[in-house]
Each structure stands twice: as C-alpha cells, then as structure tokens.
Assembly symmetry: C2
Homo-oligomer: 209 residues x 2
Amino acid sequence: MTFNIGIFVQDNAEPLDFTGPFEVFNNTSKFVDSEQISVFTIGETADPINAQGLSINPTYSINTCPTLQILLVPGGGTTKLMENQQVLSWIEQIAPSTNYLLSVCTGSLIYAKIGLLLGMTVTSHFGSIQYLRENYPDLDVDDSKRYIDNNTVITSAGISAGIDMALHVVEKLWGLDIAYKVTKYMEYNWERTDINVNLDHLKSLVDMT
Amino acid sequence: MTFNIGIFVQDNAEPLDFTGPFEVFNNTSKFVDSEQISVFTIGETADPINAQGLSINPTYSINTCPTLQILLVPGGGTTKLMENQQVLSWIEQIAPSTNYLLSVCTGSLIYAKIGLLLGMTVTSHFGSIQYLRENYPDLDVDDSKRYIDNNTVITSAGISAGIDMALHVVEKLWGLDIAYKVTKYMEYNWERTDINVNLDHLKSLVDMT
C-alpha cells in the first residue's frame, strides 16, 4: 500500500507553508525503503491555484484524491477558506480515516472551525494566536513552540515552522536517522526543540504593527 | 519603475530552491514602501513545469519576461539544463542588463557553464562541490558558507540555504530592518553568519552514500 501524503493548497495559500513540507516529505520518500511514499498537492478543483503569485496545478482535486494517511492544510487565504463549506465538509468527511492531520500557520484555524482540535494544545502563526484564543476558548493555545504534537493532530507555528514540523513527523513515523538524512540533503538546520528560543528572539527584534 | 525579481524554474527543479526565495522576496515586497517589487516565475516556455511533483505555471516564458533586476536560478534538473542551449543563451543574453544573478544549490553550475563566475568564490549543494572543483579549476569553490556574495553574483549552498541568501539580498538592497521584518513574518531563524557551523554539524551527523 502506498503511504499517501496529501498537501491541500487553497487560493492565496502562503507558498512556503506547503512547499516546505512538500520538500521534506518528497525527500523522505527517496530515503525510506520500507514503504512507498507518495506526496502530492490537492486543490478544491483541478484548476490552477494562485498561491500569492505562485501558480500551482494540483495533482488531485478533493473529488479525485485517493485515501490519505496524512493531510496537511497550509495557512494563507484561510479567512476565505473558513467560509468554504465544500472544502470544510470534505476535510470533516476524510478526517476519521486520515491517520495524521497536520497544519502549518493559520491552517489550524480550519481544523478549529471544523471542531477537530477539541481539547488539544495547538498553535498557529503568531498573528492569529489571539484570534484562536478569543474564538476557541476551549483550546489550549500555546505560542511558545514551533509545533505541537497531539498524536494524530499536529499543528505548527508560522510559515517556516512547517518545515520543522514535517521533519518531526518524519522522525515520528520513519525514525531520526531518516529525518537527519533529509535535513542533511536539504542543508537545513532543523529546530528540533519544542521550545522555540529563536522565535522569541526574532519577536523581540522588530516591532511589527 | 518596478523592481523585477525573476525566478527561473526548470523541469525537475528542487521545489524549496525556488519557493524559499520566492517567499522571502514576496514578503519583502509587502514591507518595502520606497519602490514597487514584483516577484514572478519564468519558464523556458509558458507550459506547466514539473518541479519534482509540484506543477508550476510560470508567469512568464523566457520570450515574454520583462527586464529583470534580479534573476535567480535554482538547482535540480541542472544536468539537463546545462545542455539546454536555448536557456543558456537567454541567461547569457540578459546577464549584462540584470543587476544581480543569484543561484541556489546546483543553480551555480548553470552560471559556471556560461562563464559568468570567472574569478569568483562560489558555492553549491555539497553534492556538487567536487564536480565544480574538477570541471572549473579557475573558480574558488568554498563549501564552508551558506552563501557567497560577489557583489553582483551571489551563490548559495543547497536547498534551504537559498532562504538565507535571499534574506542577505534583502538586507543588501533594502536594509536589515526590512530583512528582519521578513524573518519575523516567516518565523524563520535566519542563518546570517557567513560561516555555516550548523551545516558542518549536519554533515557530521549522518554518512550519506
């Protein structure tokens, strides 16, 4: 059986949110011998998707994609996506049969809207932490970590943190040796630590208004 | 005048090589008020490009793209691209009028082939350092840095190093404050140091054969 990793791409998706994990999982598929890993994009339809100027042709639409072991929802364009009943219903429908639900950045707002994060500790882009706390008081929103693992649901902080989360998933599913091979190939300095000291440092550098 | 940043995408391009810098420059355009920055992809033709499973519709082809201030050539698929006379001729032709030539990963092999790196200190993905040294003995190939700035030509190491190089270019052209705003928005831990201690550490972790 092929291990299917589906990366949803919505209109106005933040490019690195989905291309970072795509890169990680695609390279993982080259290093894992024990099973066939397939990594692909999914659009609401088969039409090209404008991801903030990067035009993507999805491999599948939500009507044609195979059963997934992993679904990843990126951030960007999520305000509009939260009102898209067709996509929300699709995620709600496949969630029980999908082994792992991952989100990057504001992708966690989609899972929150559907009610898939109930009782969990979650994160998002720093710009959406307050929104999550105010609108979903039942969630434990923790903005001190790059990614937070609730076993089958794993949310990450903003944009680049999706790369670190994807590497964490690789370690979790295929082991640390494979994850290190991927970081080495990508020449990437994986932020493995749960506590993101560097993010706090970055936050202190510039006041963004 | 618009400041045009053209990101070439070849068949089999490594996704993060071009999407990482795309993300950096796209966000830069939101923070820079002094001029209009346009970031777009360029294909050999207008047809979709298969970037290792990520299908991209280029904004321009090499026949339609406007005058560039920056050209970026990513790695991946470079063995084939080095034999593509049409693309090599196009780069050779636009190079004198392009303010900055950037490469990520094995993209530097394309510039080397055209003779644009003569007398420079350059880098590439660690897997292609030996190839560059053997085939271009006139180049000073330095594999100890994330990126190397020769003023108008800037080459970076493998894959994720393109993000660090792009941030360096942002600092160089629009200042450190803008670069930090981008890193903060991306929640990215920029490896600003020229000496890449982390890369050496990664190299020591796993023996890749």
